[in-house]
Amino acid sequence: MKTMVKKPEVLAPAGNLEKLKMAIRYGADAVYIGGQAFGLRSRAGNFSYEEMAEGVAFAHERSSRVYVAANMVTHEGDGRGADAFFKTLQSIGVDAVIVSDPALIVVCFNAAPGLPVHLSTQASATNYKTLEFWKSIGLERVVLAREVGIEEIRGMRQHTDIEIEAFVHGAMCIAYSGRCTLSNHMVNRDANRGGCAQSCRWKYDLFDLDDGEAHSHVQGGEPFSMSAVDLSMLHHLPDMIEAGVNSLKIEGRMKSIHYVSTVANVYRSAVDAYCRDPEHFVFDPAWDEEIWKVAQRDLSTGFYYGVPNEKEQLFGKPRKIPKYTFAAQVLAYDPVTRRATLEQRNNFGIGEEVEFYGPNFVHFKQTVHDLWNEDGEAIDRAPNPMMTVTMTVDAPVAPYFLMRKK
């Protein structure tokens, strides 16, 4: 008999305000974002306070939550301004901050008492006592290290009631997050302050120096590398939920709207389906099909069922994954004429097979039969970025439905 303890939250990344809104429209219970400082994604579109306020208002109107990542490992002087930062976040109504550096945790507790603090995965929480430690300090949630297995999560749940957040989808560090300074040593960029150059994904020579001379251990022309394939626990959500995970985290603040909307949609649908009726849950192959449309690397289960072997690293030629392109976003739909008004995001035209998808895991394929420009003139293609076009659709759509093509 399966007993579902509590429905977990689906937590999606949001690199900017537009992605935040899309992630929530497509089913995320919560999103995590970065501010202008103290984060680890210096290249992700980080939020100004005004954008944060708009995002928080949008999320709260839809009973969703916004967490702000401030997971930098600070050096002397880096913490300057952190008190004002946390105070402002609290006044904006942010639901939690994600922190790994205890110096920042202390600043946050003092500056913004009551603002919930989550421990970042950068702090590598790998056992139940560590969870208890952070609970005793006053944290509300711990994001687990990616090296933790399902069985270990079950063990943690037996020992502690602090909220557990765990990654279910996306790219992975090959190292214990936070314990890798390859970028620092190789290119003078501090991985723990937002400078990660992904040196783990480079190709290396491998050799010994037993007699002072280099003897290669490179085999069959394949350079040494340590690049992880991506994580996907889509096929194992019941295990994650039954183990007592409170928040299912999707990686990817640098990822596109197409990616975030698709992945959030799939996980929303799968989690709902399981939690509605755990006894009779059946995996819908359409979830899998959708996930592969935005996959960038092969997918694996990371450490959840054991230590990853060579199949969970990228060696040799990467497997060809069919690429889908984000082609348009729906602005309006007229049920009488069955015409949709679209904003173009990539070149498409009459005769092409396209797919529409929308929140609540609605999706359908069709061929583009007709196309009109803003002046109502019939056209063959929509070649200009962001141009507005109209076309007849085979099934009802709504604003914020997206259209992709192969």
Binding site: S100, T126, Y128, Y176, T181, R193, A214, G220, M226, Q313
Partner: protein, 304 residues
């Protein structure tokens, strides 16, 4: 008072290290200690503790692993045994292990050692608030930062003055995975053979890579050394000097420890000529391991 801490790989080496001037030996074993020259069992640790104490020296036991549930389950018994043999200190980086130390209220002090994550005085102050008696500084810090940090704290910051530093720890067996993929004959590789990585874009790079039961560890191209800066360190209260022999065994490491002891005495006597000591260190240094100052002599602004 300058303290010299040296890793000890065996009872024999421990004795030689004490003769060479080490004040404190650093040893440990699986599954709690990471990146040791040789993992030692409890009996061997106990012998080293007895030896050290008979010579008026101290022993710190490495408990710096990122612990999983299974290790935590075994840790209480290990702690009790270490307390019985009266080890002088532990090096701990896992907050769960720290909570257990608090709960068991054993009379063993611990220094906080979480590798790359110890980068500010405020962080160390947090762990002092959790009972730590000091901390091991990240090797990605500059000397300027280390001095600023020590000025703010009344507990010692341990600084690596000699040896390689770990720049990557993976939970995965990265060498095994590679050899499995390439179907290479792993048997041709000796068990204790050290392999190196080279970034083809950086011809001078050679990062030692070691796989063990904890996963895979990659080390810096250079053995870091602060020989030239020991006087400045001492003048600024950075008096806890660690020498790490994880990649340098036996007498070769002992000779280097002896040289640092001599440097200490020269500093205390006001007769330290750094150039001379650097030259002597270069002569002792294994040929294929470059010496360098890593981040220590960089400007804090140079690394982002």
């Amino acid at each position: 008072m300058i303290e010299i801490i040296a890793t000890a790989e065996s009872m024999n080496q421990a004795e030689a290290l004490i003769d060479a001037g080490a004040d404190r030996l650093y040893a440990g074993g699986h599954p709690f200690g990471l990146r040791l020259p040789r993992p030692l069992g409890l009996e061997e640790i106990e012998s080293i503790v007895r030896l050290a104490h008979s010579r008026g020296k101290a022993v710190t036991v490495a408990c710096n692993a990122l612990m999983h549930n299974k290790q935590i389950d075994q840790f209480a018994a290990y702690l009790t045994q270490l307390a019985e043999m009266k080890v002088d200190a532990l090096a701990v980086g896992d907050p769960g292990a720290i909570l257990m130390l608090k709960e068991q209220a054993l009379p063993i002090p611990y220094i906080y050692d979480a590798g790359t994550l110890v980068t500010s005085a405020e962080q160390i102050a947090f762990w002092i608030g959790q009972g730590a008696s000091g901390a091991v500084a990240a090797r990605e810090l500059t000397l300027k930062e280390l001095i600023m940090m020590q000025q703010k704290l009344d507990r010692p910051i341990e600084v690596l003055v000699y040896g390689p530093t770990c720049i990557h720890q993976s939970g995965r067996p990265l060498l095994t995975n590679y050899f499995h993929y390439t179907s290479g004959d792993r048997a041709s590789r000796l068990d204790d053979q050290v392999l190196f990585l080279r970034d083809p874009k950086n011809a001078g790079s050679q990062y030692p890579i070691i796989e063990d039961t904890d996963g895979t560890h990659i080390f810096s191209t250079e053995d870091l050394t602060l020989m030239g800066q020991l006087k400045i360190m001492h003048e600024n209260g950075l008096d806890t000097w660690k020498l790490d022999g994880v990649l340098l065994r036996g007498d070769a490491f002992v000779s280097i420890v002896a040289l640092f002891d001599e440097a200490r005495r020269a500093i205390e006597a006001g007769a330290f000529v750094p150039e001379s000591f650097i030259n002597r260190l270069k002569k002792l240094q294994p040929e294929h391991r470059p010496l360098g100052t890593g981040f220590y002599m960089k400007n804090p602004e140079d690394v982002h």
